[in-house]
């Protein structure tokens, strides 16, 4: 049995906007096994970033609230920790790489000053030790002239180098889980290939688990062991990566794959999913994807489908109902099959 390093159970997050409240995360379940790479795929606004922020405890305190559910990290519920307790965890056992390497480094501090922060926070080290550790980590992520870069400012580095600095920042305290939120979206393809290669490499070397959040299916194909597909604040499908690419079960996943230009004949009309993602305020009863789904029938509009499980392949679609046995997640409405 694989050890689960992170487990998210029936997570629901609410946001206040003005007088209204919206709930962009409505019952998310997934887990990350030790040493694996889990991909979370979805389009913008599907809640993948909010989910990852909640794992890091970085949700805005005033306007957001975890309504229900739990986040277990090493079997300890971290969803309701206070700021002080979170600080011990963040950057130490869980760390995160953000999307924008251009804006996530502070422009007025040198690389060395920024990188020494987690060490000061979590480890007792002398100044010279800190410097040595930082240089080793910078070399580990493949930065040339690490001894000089440590005293340089972020603007002196290119995008790819800044992303490497961000990765080294996340690596410093040897975390058990690294969350990478669209780590290569802002980068060019050749640099993207470098960074993905690096992430794979350091993951095996440091025996970490990686949670990779992306909208790019090809990055998933390249990197992940298992994949979670999110749509409008719900997990609609979860499977091992080969299984997902060979036999996608949910119509949304199928649509996504079919709409990639590389899966269509040149110059032909691309397959596309009609319509657009519903806003959190527009979501009604029934399946969230029903209004865009080519296979939707009455039941889809009336009832929210539970997660159906076929081996390790989970999908939330009524089409899977007869063939598959149903799994009951805590808090999930159980169905009566007539």
């Amino acid at each position: 049995m694989l050890e689960k390093i992170l487990q998210v159970n029936d997570l629901r997050i609410q946001f206040k906007s003005g007088k209204e409240t919206v709930q962009p995360i409505r019952g998310v379940n997934f887990h990350v096994n030790r040493g694996e790479t889990l991909g979370i795929v979805g389009e913008s606004g599907c809640g993948k970033s909010v989910t990852s922020l909640s794992v890091m405890g970085l949700l805005p305190v005033k306007s957001s609230k975890i309504v229900s559910g739990e986040i277990l990290f090493n079997n300890r519920d971290i969803s309701r920790l206070n700021e002080k307790e979170f600080r011990k965890l963040r950057g130490n056992e869980i760390s995160m790489i953000f999307q924008e390497p251009m804006t996530s480094l502070n422009p007025v501090f040198t690389i060395g000053e920024q990188l020494s922060e987690p060490l000061r926070q979590h480890k007792k080290m002398s100044k010279s030790e800190t410097r040595k550790t930082i240089i080793t980590v910078l070399k580990q992520v493949g930065l040339p002239r690490a001894e000089q870069i440590i005293d340089e400012y972020p603007h002196q580095l290119s995008g790819g180098m800044r992303q490497r600095v961000m990765i080294s920042l996340a690596l410093l305290c040897q975390p058990k889980l690294m969350i990478a939120d669209e780590p290569t979206t802002a980068l060019d393809v050749t640099i993207q290939a470098q960074i993905l290669e690096l992430l794979k490499d350091i993951k095996t070397k440091n025996d970490m688990s990686l949670m990779l959040i992306t909208h790019d299916l090809s990055v998933v194909a390249e990197m992940c062991d298992r994949v979670v597909v999110m749509y409008a604040g719900e997990v609609v499908e979860e499977a091992e990566v080969n299984e997902l690419f060979d036999r996608p079960l949910h119509p949304y996943t199928q649509g996504l794959m079919k709409s990639l230009p590389s899966n269509n004949e040149r110059k032909s009309t691309l397959f596309s999913i009609q319509g657009q993602v519903p806003k959190p305020s527009e979501i009604k009863e029934g399946c969230v994807f029903a209004n865009r789904c080519p296979f939707a029938f009455e039941k889809c509009l009336a009832e929210t489908p539970p997660a159906f499980k076929k081996g390790e392949h989970i999908s939330k679609c009524w089409l899977q109902e007869p063939a598959l046995e149903e799994v009951k997640h805590s808090g999930e409405p159980s169905i009566v099959i007539s």
Partner: protein, 335 residues
């Protein structure tokens, strides 16, 4: 079929100067350096390259949204580079642009009606009464409806805004559209809708596109010919299928190999380039790609390669293929 040249760009240059202080010499940034290509009528010509390679600047210089430093842009026999301002302005009736960021390229204070009416008003096209009819029919073509006329851009999603951006460009019925990364800010499912729209419009109005993108899978899908740019220069031009099946320039080969796989089981031999793109303010001597090139030779450091033609319409600027006594051995190995 006899293809007609619609646009030809000759020795186009755009240099930016960075002042270094009163008595110091200015630094020259060669954003676009001696670019040559032609676009045929009715085709989709792609400019591809990494960020900072000058592909967007090339597009903007053609429309003279940025003034070129030197060179000629010949559109239907007129040299745009030297045209006076008002004539250039009326030329833009025939050539329009679709911008990358659908969030920034629409004026937030104007309604869709005003946004789409403006090009018609500026170029004084159609009767005043006819214009509204035109706007509505254009909205329907791009998949929106009359009902959206009095809404503001913030009420639309990214994909819808890009449709409005496309409608604004096509409403003048131009011959030529420069699309600068029109789909890179969009999600996959919306991206395919916008690509379909662009392909449809091309068929319907016989448009010619200059398609600027860094996304190779989109380029492979929808373009006819491709020019690969690196540091302000075109390094390879070929027909799309030819380029993807048989890339010649080492940079193109690396670029194509860096495209992520389609399926987890697909094995791919990668050429991982070392380092980053050098700064265009201080480009390397000789062939600008030589510091990162796995096949770099002595000559690459000093001499800029001239274009070599392989088959018809496929050229690459690389010393590997120049028929020189010494180099001929390499050329055989790597071609």
């Amino acid at each position: 079929m006899e293809s007609q040249v619609l646009l030809s760009v000759k020795n186009l240059k755009k240099y930016y100067e960075i002042p270094q202080g009163m008595f110091k010499e200015k630094i020259l940034v060669r954003a676009v350096d001696d670019v040559n290509f032609t676009v045929m009528k009715g085709e989709t010509f792609a400019l591809v390259g990494e960020s900072g390679c000058g592909k967007s600047t090339t597009g903007r210089t053609i429309l003279r949204l940025v003034e070129p430093t030197a060179g000629e842009v010949i559109f239907k026999g007129t040299n745009l580079a030297t045209l006076p301002y008002d004539q250039m302005r009326s030329m833009r009736k025939q050539m329009q642009m679709v911008f990358q960021d659908p969030y920034a390229s629409l004026n937030p204070k104007k309604t869709i009606r005003q946004i789409l009416m403006e090009p018609l008003r500026v170029h004084d096209k159609f009767d005043k009464k006819e214009r509204l009819q035109k706007v509505i029919s254009m909205l329907q073509i791009v998949g929106l409806s009359e009902y959206h006329l009095d809404r503001y851009p913030h009420e639309f999603s990214g994909g819808q805004r890009q449709r409005i951006g496309i409608a604004r460009a096509v409403i003048l019925q131009p011959d030529f559209i420069i699309a600068d990364e029109p789909v890179s800010a969009l999600d996959v499912s919306v991206q395919s809708q916008v690509i379909n729209l662009m392909l449809e419009l091309q068929k319907e109005f016989g448009l010619t596109y200059l398609f600027i993108s860094h996304d190779l899978s989109v380029i492979q899908h929808m373009t006819d010919r491709v020019a690969v740019m690196y540091l302000g220069k075109i390094v390879e031009i070929a027909e799309t299928e030819d380029l993807f099946n048989n890339p010649k320039h080492p940079y193109t080969q690396a670029l194509l190999s860096a495209v992520p796989v389609k399926h987890p089981k697909e094995e791919k031999s990668r050429i991982i380039l070392k380092g980053d793109v050098p700064s265009p303010a201080n480009p390397p001597s000789g062939c600008t790609f030589h510091p990162r090139c796995p096949f770099a030779m002595e000559i690459c450091k000093s001499v800029m390669p001239e274009p070599t033609e392989f088959e018809k319409g496929h050229t690459a600027n690389c010393h590997l293929y120049i028929k020189n006594e010494e180099e001929i051995k390499h050329a055989v190995i790597y071609s």
